[in-house]
């Protein structure tokens, strides 16, 4: 576990209902718990009532400058329109997580690292397809060494406290499934 995060900028995008804002808020909660600076900004336009949704998160040891992420270090694309819209904005050397359950396209850029992970299948095996977002979060955690799986479990428990308790087990299982999937690629 590293004790510095540097500055990591995220764009997390998908269909409305895929829980992309949840991923962003979990990162923000986990960052707060680890005492680094965070900002989270959701797309709040008509798009959240159907169509695509996205959020932008910045996690930093220093002051967060612009919260409006233009060139992310990390892109999590839960569906194809999101990958197509944002993949060319990722910084060279950045990372993209592609939901291979729903996206057939390959990432054609050679200057970024791409993980193809079947988030929906992993979630279904964990008990509920609707927690595919947690599998994505787990996959991200496995790719870096600042946030731990425990940080994210803590954030998720904090966020769903008292709500949708029936999904808690599936949430945590999916988180671990995404994590294990990427760890096993290494």
């Amino acid at each position: 576990m590293a004790d510095k995060v540097g500055t990591v900028e995220f764009i997390i995008a998908g269909f409305g209902g895929q829980g992309v804002l949840f991923i962003g808020r979990a990162l923000a909660f986990a960052g707060l718990a680890r005492d680094v600076n965070v900002s989270f900004i959701p797309s709040y336009g008509p798009e959240m009532r159907g169509g695509t949704a996205n959020c932008k998160v910045v996690v930093s040891d220093g002051e967060v400058g612009s919260p409006i992420v233009e060139e992310p270090d990390v892109l999590i694309a839960m569906n194809r329109p999101s990958l197509e819209r944002f993949v060319n904005t990722v910084k060279p050397g950045g990372t993209v997580f592609v939901n291979s359950s729903l996206i057939e396209n390959e990432v054609e850029r050679g200057d970024i690292k791409a993980y193809r992970v079947p988030f929906n299948e992993l979630a279904r095996e964990a008990g509920a397809e609707r927690v595919a977002n947690l599998a994505a979060l787990g996959a991200y955690v496995a790719s870096q060494d600042f946030f731990t799986l425990e940080d994210m479990e803590g954030a998720v428990k904090e966020m769903v406290k008292g709500k949708r308790v029936e999904l808690m087990e599936a949430n945590l299982k999916a988180l671990r499934a995404g994590y294990d999937f990427v760890r096993n690629l290494a």
């Binding site: 808020r25 923000a28 600076n37 965070v38 989270f40 709040y44 400058g65 612009s66």
Partner: protein, 354 residues
């Protein structure tokens, strides 16, 4: 030290006002401001306050007039079109010298516009959007923490000067979440409120009014108000600076845009361009003396805004022709992109060396 929690800017605004003793809120919902009302509707009654959703923005601002007349700390909030509706009431509040907090979480205009972030209500806020000669103090937060802190400051300043104070925010600052430190206690300043309408038991009745039919009387009232505005200008100022010590090119930006330009300054510096940034956190009074002072060391200044060029006029007044003052802006909910602002800066640098 208090506790640090993750909050939306809109929630932080409501929480800050409550911590500063605001117990009366009157409003009407509008995106992207509605979380202020949603948050207060949940928390204000628990703290012994009154949350009331009025039938319109016009009702809400006049309810503010009523509660302020009674000497209570009171607040309303809205977003651009709703703020326009409150302008008549705002003028009455200033005319009657009533303290209150007004939150404007700006969206794209004109007209119904859209719900994206914008800064196009700058003129309306700082030049007096209602009728008559007046000013209100305008605070421009840049973080969720400042949404909280400035709400406290605003209610103190309002009581200090018996004048409305506006927090001029935007849809992005309202909707975004950041950690906010909620101190155990906030500084609540107490000012004389012997003017308030509290029942006149054992004292002569007070009158709160903005009607002065006699011209001489109204002129004298205006002179008194102008003296107050002058006093505010002499005593109140709030801004921050970033890498200005050796800056040759000075950006001026407020609110959300100042965060974007903060990043642009780093991009420019990485290329050896000596850029700096001044962020007015109070838009009226405006930090004109400091801008004039910094202009001396700079080749030019550049105002970046989410409008067609409003604050840039005040920057130009401050610089008074001694240096070129350029402008870059986006309208209708567009947010300036860092690289685009940097290009704009470079184009003026190149233009200047020809």
């Amino acid at each position: 030290m208090g506790k640090k929690i993750l909050m939306k800017g809109n929630e932080a605004l409501g929480e800050g006002a409550m911590r500063a003793g605001m117990r009366h809120y009157f409003g009407y919902p509008i995106t992207p401001q509605s979380e202020v009302a949603a948050y207060l509707s949940k928390h204000l009654p628990k703290r012994g306050g009154v949350f009331l959703q009025a039938e319109s923005e016009i009702s809400a601002i006049n309810m503010v007039y009523g509660a302020a007349s009674a000497g209570r700390r009171v607040m309303t909030s809205s977003s651009s079109p709703g703020i326009s509706l409150k302008m008549e009431g705002l003028s009455y509040l200033v005319g009657s010298e009533l303290p209150c907090l007004i939150g404007n979480v700006m969206r794209g205009g004109p007209g119904l516009g859209n719900i994206a972030p914008a800064q196009a209500d700058y003129f309306q806020a700082v030049k007096g959007g209602g009728h008559g000669d007046y000013h209100i103090i305008v605070l421009a937060p840049t973080t969720c923490q400042e949404m909280f802190d400035f709400a406290v400051m605003a209610l103190n300043l309002a009581d200090k000067y018996r004048n409305p104070v506006m927090i001029l925010s935007d849809g992005a600052l309202g909707q975004m979440m950041e950690p906010v430190v909620i101190p155990d206690e906030v500084p609540i300043e107490e000012y004389d409120k012997s003017w308030a309408l509290t029942g006149a038991k054992d004292r002569p009745p007070n009158v709160v009014n903005s009607l002065f039919l006699d011209e001489k009387e109204l002129e004298e009232h205006n002179i008194k108000l102008q003296e107050k505005f002058k006093r505010i200008e002499e005593n109140e100022i709030l801004y921050s600076e970033y890498r200005t010590e050796d800056a040759e090119y000075l950006f001026v930006a407020f609110g959300l845009v100042s965060r974007i330009v903060h990043s642009v300054v780093d991009l420019a510096r990485a290329e050896g361009i000596k850029a700096g940034l001044l962020v007015p956190k109070m838009l009226w009074p405006f930090p004109k003396d400091r801008i004039a002072e910094l202009a001396e060391q700079c080749r030019f200044l550049m105002s970046v805004e989410m409008n067609s060029g409003q604050m840039v006029e005040d920057v130009r007044l401050a610089v008074n022709g001694r240096r070129p003052v350029y402008f870059y802006g986006r309208m209708g909910g567009g947010v300036p992109a860092q690289r685009r602002v940097l290009e704009e800066l470079k184009s003026h640098i190149e233009g200047g060396t020809k």
